[in-house]
Amino acid sequence: MHNIIKNINKIFDHRVRLGIMSALMVNDFVDFNTLKELLNVTDGNLASHLKALEKMAYITVTKEFIGRKPNTKYNTTPAGTEAFKKHIVALEKIIKMQQ
């Protein structure tokens, strides 16, 4: 049990960060506005959670221009993918044990 708890990643223990990772896992790239609509959060809230994930090197940021509009896209790093997978496995194990 102790081992499993260890695999629960504190970083993902938040609705918005969990949501960001879920969306990035199944898409090559997701841009800021799409994430915002998907998760139904404010700009500032989303930005701070993205920063936290970026700091952990779980996601990378790509800034580009579409015409004249700046567009910021995110994707997961291999480390982020690995960590998120571990987190999901840990979640599933805990649920199974408690059932």
């Binding site: 969990l18 879920s22 969306a23 998760l39 408690q98």
Partner: protein, 208 residues
């Protein structure tokens, strides 16, 4: 954290993975309507063809009167356009209800993956018509439409995949019964659409 929270986490992950890769506000009613338009269009075409005594069912035919061919294209085009318009209007309404945006990266991918095989098939069918190979038009349109649906199903309700496969099978079978194109066309674009539209409608209605 309690067990309930972990379960909620898992279902949230699933939900977001789904919503970020699939456009789910497809309207079942628009499928039913498209089927009805196709059946009406098919009936009109059948009446026109048999009335003029140029064609009896089961006979591989070549139309010599180009004006009739034009009328048939117009009927098919009208059916297609009415279907697209109802699909757009009803899907938009459903997207608003579901609080889903109509124009997202996912819906764009859905549209592109649907349109490319579809337009290829459409042009191919027109070229067949140009060459006078009328009997091959029904199989061609059914097969390409089925492939378009199959291709697009990655970005929407997974049941669309099976509709696509059924259309492809129907198109291939119709190759064995050339000269019955109209019958297969009404089956594929009419009956299958109505059945699938109803299925989607029931499935999603129960959910909400």
């Amino acid at each position: 954290m309690t067990e309930k929270d972990y379960l909620k986490d898992i279902s949230e992950i699933k939900d977001i993975m789904n919503r970020s890769t699939r456009f789910l506000s497809l309207s079942g009613i628009s499928g039913i309507l498209a089927g009805i338009y196709a059946l009406i269009g098919g009936t009109i075409a059948y009446k026109l063809l048999t009335q003029q005594g140029r064609w009896t069912r089961g006979e591989a035919y070549t139309l010599t009167i180009s004006s009739l061919a034009v009328i048939l294209v117009v009927i098919a085009g009208t059916v297609a356009m009415l279907s697209v318009v109802s699909a757009y209007v009803l899907t938009k309404r459903k997207a608003v209800q579901n609080n889903e945006k109509m124009w997202t990266p996912v819906s764009r991918q859905l549209l592109v993956s649907f349109i490319i095989p579809l337009v290829t098939g459409g042009i191919f069918a027109l070229l067949l018509m140009y060459r006078g190979d009328y009997a091959l038009i029904a199989p061609t349109t059914l097969i390409f439409y089925g492939l378009a649906l199959f291709n697009a199903s990655k970005f929407t309700l997974s049941t669309v995949k099976y509709l696509g496969l059924l259309e492809v099978v129907l198109g291939l079978v119709s190759m064995l019964f050339l000269g019955n194109g109209l019958f297969f066309w009404m089956l594929g674009f009419g009956v299958l659409h109505i059945v699938y539209g109803a299925l989607i409608y029931i499935k999603l209605d129960k959910k909400s």
